[in-house]
């Protein structure tokens, strides 16, 4: 990065954060601080919801996913539009009607205080644990590729987000997220056209798409019922529906984005905006990754895309092994380029048989290079069992740094940091709100009517969670598998929390005691199944939710008739 890149990066990031903090510096009403401005329109709500979901990892990992496995990952989002329609029709009107600050406050009104504390506790546990990861995961990648100090990257990004989130609360989060999302859209569209421009002359989008398709990168929809297929239409629709319903309907970091706003209509339109936008947006990001894959077919490609990690080993005691792998990969890559040229000639000739034969040869060449990449990962692990072998997250950022002109490099790094700040801000805002409303006020009921004291408490809790997140990211010493474990842990809790809410909405005869113990039993069951079964973690959303509702029904039937039923 040169001076121009730094100016673009700091100008956009500090500018947006400073603008957000300055515009919202007089936020002193609890309602505005926790739910956002009463004049917020659907467009800001919609972008805020999108920015909360799109973390930096979205823009680092998803192009890498398109590069590595193709665009089939888009199916994971197929349940999202259906979930958002349910949230619009059922969840949002209830939250607004009751005027709650947090989703868990509703559980207290519908059931009892212990169920509210259970819901809030599960959220705080899950989000609190993830708090460090949302800063650490992008910081480790950016610092590795750009040569920044990891601790300064974490502290810099963390403090920036704390300043405006604490100053202006929810209203500052929405305001800054709107501009951050606009930077993200501009950056990703620019990157798309740069990738196209960097492809060999005459190839164009159509030629690139045909090549990506021939190499199996453009299979977007898989109708297979085979459970061994990782991404299918059905797993996306069913698993994705429950995951999205839990996330958008019950996770305070999302609920807080849409319960405020000018009216119910604005919240609904903001959510519907996401229902229409999300799948095309994810498709576009995955397609970008597939085009970067095509780009590297015509360029010298690294055997391992986390080049800092690779260089550490090529310069180490076993450097000869790694250099031999590099040479082997380069030779196979050159042979593949010849196969690509042969396939292109066969395709344009119109001879179907020749095209098929050339494609088979091309796929064999692709497999040979993939095998060397697998060999390289094994060599890394053999040399250092703690080596980070997942390099797909480094593909897109590596492309940005090496291929984009100065200025655009700064803009695309700003995209990554904007995404990190946007999702982090929602998380801190939600953690602060839940701690204040569901815990602090629960134990200090007399403080409820002192608005200034409530706002001060919310600011302190938000800042506290921010400092905890920075500390966790700095000192926890995350391993790659720990990050994944924390993400999976989130999915393990989501199902039961969704079960609590669906019971509240649809099982009107269930009382607080039955649903509370039903949820505790369901969570225990999910933990047991997690350690004994080998199924995709997406399914725990469905299992946890169903178990919670069934256990609550059974317990309610067993409890005495004097047990408190639903009040409405």
């Amino acid at each position: 990065m040169n001076l121009v890149d730094w100016l673009v990066l700091l100008g956009t990031m500090v500018g947006i954060a400073g603008y957000g903090a300055w515009r919202t510096r007089h936020t002193d009403h609890l309602d505005t601080y926790l739910k956002g401005s009463k004049t917020t329109g659907w467009f800001t709500i919609g972008l805020s919801v999108a920015a909360t979901q799109a973390s930096a990892i979205t823009f680092l990992s998803i192009p890498g996913q398109g590069f590595e496995s193709g665009i089939g990952f888009v199916q994971n989002y197929f349940g999202l539009p259906l979930a958002l329609i349910i949230v619009c029709a059922v969840f949002l009107p209830i939250y607004r009607k009751l005027g709650v600050y947090t989703a868990y406050e509703y559980l207290g009104k519908r059931f009892d205080q212990k169920t509210r504390l259970l819901g809030a506790g599960l959220f705080l546990l899950q989000r609190g644990l993830a708090a460090g990861v949302t800063i650490y995961a992008p910081a480790i990648i950016l610092s590795s590729v750009l040569g920044w100090r990891l601790d300064l990257t974490i502290i810099g990004a963390g403090l920036l987000v704390i300043v405006y989130t604490v100053t202006g609360g929810s209203v500052a989060v929405s305001l800054t997220q709107k501009w951050q999302m606009l930077v993200i859209f501009a950056g990703m569209i620019a990157a798309f056209f740069i990738v196209l421009a960097r492809l060999p002359a005459g190839l164009g989008f159509s030629g690139a798409a045909h090549l990506a398709g021939a190499l199996g990168k453009l299979e977007a929809v898989d109708f297979s019922l085979d459970p061994s297929h990782r991404y299918t239409l059905w797993s996306g629709l069913i698993g994705g529906l429950f995951l999205s319903l839990s996330y958008f309907g019950t996770d305070q970091s999302q609920v807080q984005r849409y319960i405020g706003g000018a009216s119910l209509r604005e919240g609904r339109l903001g959510l519907m905006f996401n229902a229409v936008l999300k799948i095309p947006m994810q498709f576009f990001i995955l397609l970008l990754g597939a085009l970067v894959f095509v780009f590297y077919q015509f360029q010298p490609a690294p055997v391992f895309y986390n080049e800092a990690e690779w260089a550490r080993h090529t310069n180490g005691p076993q450097g000869a092994t790694f250099r031999a792998l590099e040479e082997k990969h380069a030779a196979l890559h050159a042979a593949k380029q010849q196969r690509i040229a042969a396939w292109q000639v066969a395709r344009t000739s119109g001879d179907t048989g020749a095209e098929q034969a050339a494609r088979t040869a091309l796929l064999a060449a692709q497999k040979a290079t993939d095998d060397v990449r697998t060999e390289a990962r094994s060599a890394l692990l053999a040399a250092d069992p703690r080596a980070k072998t997942k390099d797909s997250d480094y593909v897109f950022i590596g492309f940005i740094v090496r291929q984009l002109p100065h200025g655009l490099v700064g803009l695309l790094v700003a995209v990554m940091i904007a995404a990190a700040l946007g999702s982090k801000a929602s998380e801190l805002n939600a953690l602060g709100a839940t701690t204040t409303i569901d815990l602090w006020r629960h134990f200090r009921p007399l403080a409820e009517h002192d608005e200034a004291r409530n706002v001060r408490a919310a600011k302190w809790f938000t800042a506290g969670w921010g400092i905890f997140a920075i500390g966790f990211a700095l000192f926890a010493g995350f391993a790659e598998n720990l990050i994944e474990a924390i993400n999976i842990l989130g999915s393990i809790f989501y199902g039961v929390v969704l079960g609590l809410f669906l019971t509240a909405f649809f099982l009107k005869r269930i009382g607080g005691t039955a649903v509370f113990w039903g949820a505790v039993a369901a969570q225990a069951l999910v933990f047991v199944l997690f350690f004994t079964l080998n199924i995709s973690y997406l399914w725990y959303n469905l299992i946890g939710c169903a178990a919670c509702m069934i256990f609550a029904l059974v317990l309610q039937a067993m409890l005495s008739p004097q047990s408190k039923p639903a009040t409405s």
């Binding site: 539009p81 398709g213 119910l264 609904r268 339109l269 799948i279």
Partner: protein, 44 residues
């Protein structure tokens, strides 16, 4: 507990109820899935 009644018009041209908006969004989703399937077939 019942959801708040749909007393608010979506205020979008061509839509008188929220139910119409939801059907429209669902229709868009189906079209996107069909579009993605055709895209895959065209370049596979």
């Amino acid at each position: 507990m019942k959801p708040e009644p749909d007393d608010e018009s979506p205020g979008l041209p061509g839509f008188r109820t929220w139910r119409g908006v939801y059907w429209f969004v669902l229709g868009c989703f189906v079209l996107v899935v069909i579009g993605l399937t055709l895209f895959s077939r065209a370049f596979a």
